[in-house]
C-alpha cells in the first residue's frame, strides 16, 4: 500500500490520530501531526511511498504540532517531537512541512550509525552512484534536481548513506530541498517537476521541496555502487567543467561532509578509503544546468 491509496480524509485521520507509518528507503517513521500543512506536504511528496502496517517495525516516532504557548495567538508555531522530546526550537507554523523534513533528516543522521552518513546528494545511472558532497550554497541540490530530470535516479538529496561493509549507497528517495533562486531555475528547467508552495523567511531563505520522481521511490530497494565523487560549485556564467581532484583531497572533503565519520573510527576510515578508491573524483564548476546535465550524461556513458 502507498500513501496515494489513502483518501485525503483517511490520510488526515491517520496523521492526526494513530500515526502514518511511512517508509523511505530503509527507514520507517511513524508520523503524527494534526496540521494541514503537514498533511499537504505528505500527500504531495510521499504519494508514491509505501505505508507499513502496525504489525511492522517503526524506527522513529515523530510528531509535528503547535506548541501550547502564549505566542500561538499572535505567531502560530510548529514544533518537532521525537519520542516525546523536542530537539529543536519551534518554527513559524508556515514551516511545518520543512520542519518535518529537517526533523526526519536529524533522526537519521543522529541515530543510523549502521551507515556512514555524509552531507551529500546521490544519484544513480546503470547501478553506478554519483556522490555530490558540498557545503550549502554550492548548488548541490539544484544540480541533483536537474540530473534526476535528465535520466538519473534519485537516491538522496541531503544524506548519502553508505553501508560500510559493502561500500554500497543506500537510497532514501525523499523530496529534494530547493532554496531561493534554484526554485525558479528548476521550474524553468523541468516544467514537469512537482514542487510544493515556497515557504519564505526560513533560516535557509525561501524553501520549496521537489517531489522525488515516483520511479526513484519505487526503486528504493536497489542499492548502487559509488563510481564518482564530484564536488559541485555554482558560478554565474561559468562553463561546465570537471577538474580532477586528487583522491587524498576527495577523502578529506568527504570527511568534512561526514555526519558520523568519527563514530566509525578505524572501520570508517577503511570503509571510506574503499569508496574513494573505486571512485573517479572531480570538482565541478557550472553556470548552466543544461550544460551540466549534458556533461554528466557524457560522463555516465563514456567512463
Amino acid at each position: 500500500m502507498i500513501v496515494a491509496d489513502l483518501s485525503r480524509p483517511e490520510l488526515e485521520r491517520r496523521l492526526a490520530g494513530p500515526g502514518l507509518r511511512l517508509r523511505t528507503g530503509p527507514v520507517v517513521a511513524q508520523i503524527r501531526s494534526p496540521l494541514g500543512a503537514v498533511a499537504d506536504g505528505v500527500a504531495l511528496h510521499y504519494a508514491a511511498h509505501p505505508i507499513e502496517g502496525n504489525d511492522g517495525f517503526a524506527d522513529f516516532f515523530v510528531r509535528v504540532d503547535r506548541p501550547r504557548n502564549l505566542r500561538r495567538w499572535l505567531h502560530p508555531q510548529a514544533m518537532f517531537h521525537i519520542d516525546g522530546e523536542a530537539p529543536f526550537t519551534p518554527l513559524p507554523l508556515d514551516q511545518a512541512f520543512p520542519l518535518l523534513e529537517w526533523g526526519l533528516n536529524w533522526c537519521i543522521s543522529a541515530h543510523c550509525h549502521q551507515y556512514l552518513i555524509f552531507h551529500a546528494a546521490v544519484v544513480e545511472r546503470s547501478g553506478r552512484a554519483l556522490i555530490l558532497p558540498a557545503p550549502p550554497g554550492s548548488g548541490k541540490s539544484t544540480l541533483c534536481a536537474g540530473l534526476i530530470h535528465r535520466g538519473w535516479r534519485l537516491l538522496s538529496d541531503e544524506l548519502a548513506l553508505i553501508d560500510p561493509a559493502t561500500s554500497r549507497a543506500i537510497p532514501l528517495a525523499r523530496p529534494v530541498s530547493l532554496k531561493n533562486r534554484s526554485i525558479d531555475v528548476i521550474r524553468a528547467f523541468a516544467p514537469a517537476a512537482v514542487l510544493s508552495r515556497p515557504v519564505r523567511d526560513t533560516t535557509k531563505g525561501t524553501v520549496a521541496h521537489m517531489q522525488a520522481p515516483p520511479d526513484s521511490v519505487r526503486r528504493a530497494a536497489e542499492f548502487a555502487s559509488p563510481a564518482w565523487i564530484v564536488m559541485p560549485r555554482y558560478e554565474a556564467g561559468a562553463t561546465a567543467a570537471l577538474t580532477p581532484l586528487p583522491k587524498a583531497r576527495a577523502f578529506m572533503e568527504m570527511v568534512n561532509s561526514g555526519f558520523n565519520y568519527s563514530v566509525h573510527g578505524r572501520n570508517g576510515f577503511e570503509a571510506l578509503a574503499r569508496v574513494v578508491d573505486r571512485c573517479e573524483c572531480h570538482t565541478f564548476a557550472y553556470g548552466d544546468l543544461e550544460e551540466a546535465a549534458a556533461l554528466f550524461d557524457a560522463l555516465a556513458t563514456t567512463s
Binding site: 516516532f61 549502521q114 573510527g265
Partner: protein, 361 residues
Amino acid sequence: MSDGPPPSITRALRDPPSVASWNLQQWEALVREARRTNLLSRLAHEVADCGLSDRVPPAPRAHLVAAQTLAQAQADAMRREVTYIRQALAKVDVEIVLLKGAAYLMAGLPAARGRLFTDVDILVPYERLPEVEAALMLHGWFATHHSAYDQRYYREWMHELPPLRHAVRTTVVDVHHAILPRTARLKPSSATLLAAARPIPGQDRLRVLSPTDLVLHSATHLFHNEELSQGLRDLADLDSLLRHFGDDPGFWNELPQRAVELDLARPLHYGVRHASRLFGTPVPDAARANIERHAPPPWLDGIVGTLYERALRPVAAGEPGLLTPLARQALFVRAHWLRMPAVLLARHLASKALRIDRDGN
C-alpha cells in the same frame, strides 16, 4: 494507577536470552525504550555476548549495530581523553582518581561494556585543586560558567570546579574534590575515599575507588541527582557493579560497614532496593538486613521509594504520562534539599529564577 508490567528494557537486561523469542512489536517498544533510557548499546552488548545477534530481526538489529558503533566510538574517545588529562597533569605530582564511566572503562569493569560516555570525572584532594586547574588550563581546557554567581556556586558550595572544556576537542572534564556538595547533609570523607583508592594496573598514576566505594558513589550519585532522565542507566551501572563485586563473599560483609563509615548508608539502601527491584540484582539476605537497618522511617521510605519507582521507570508509550514528570519534579526538589541547607537553597533558586527572567529565557 497500577504498577503495570516491568519495563521491557529492564526485563531484557535481566534476561537477555529472552529477547530471542520477541516479535517485531516487542522489539519496536524495546528499541524505543532503550533509546530513551540510553541503554540501547548496553542491550546490544548483552545480546551479542549471548551470541543472539543473528536471532534479532533485521530492522531492530540495525539499531543495535548503530548503538554499539556509537558506544565503541565513545569508549575510544574516553580512553584518549583520559590519556590527554594524564599528560596534562604529568608535572603535577597527584594521583588522579577516575570516577563513574571513566573509572569503569579504564579499570575494565563490566559496567563499561556498551555504556555511553560523556564527560570525564576525576577526583583529587581539595588542596591540590589550584595546581590541577592551572595545569589543565595550560593544556587547553578553559573554564565554563563565567558569571560571578556561577563561580561562587561551584567554588564555595559544590564538590567540583566549574566544568572545564577543551578549546579544540570541546570535551569536558569535571574536577571533583568530593562526591557530594560541601553543603550537602551527608558528609562522605574525601580523605577516606582517596586513601582506599586503588591503582589501575598498567595505568601509571591513574586510580579508581575501591570496590565498595565505587558502589557507594554510584548509589549516592543516583539518589542525589536532581536530573533523573539518566536514572535507569545509572541504576544499570549500580546493578553491574554489585553483580561483579558481589562474587567476592567478603564484599557483602564490608559494604554495609563501609557505607556507615562514609555516611552513605541511606543512598546505599535506596540503591540496593531499586537495583534489585528493577534489575533483579542478587543481594545476600544478611547483607540486605544490614543495609535495611538504615532505611528511613517507613512513611518516608514509602514515599521516596514510590517516587523513585515512578521516576526511574521508562515511559512505555513514548509520551510522558502525568505521573512520571510529577515524580521527577518532586525528586528534583528532594535532591536540592539534600544538597543544600534550606536558606542557601532558597537563595540559590531565587538567584536562578531572577537570572532566567533577565535573560528572557
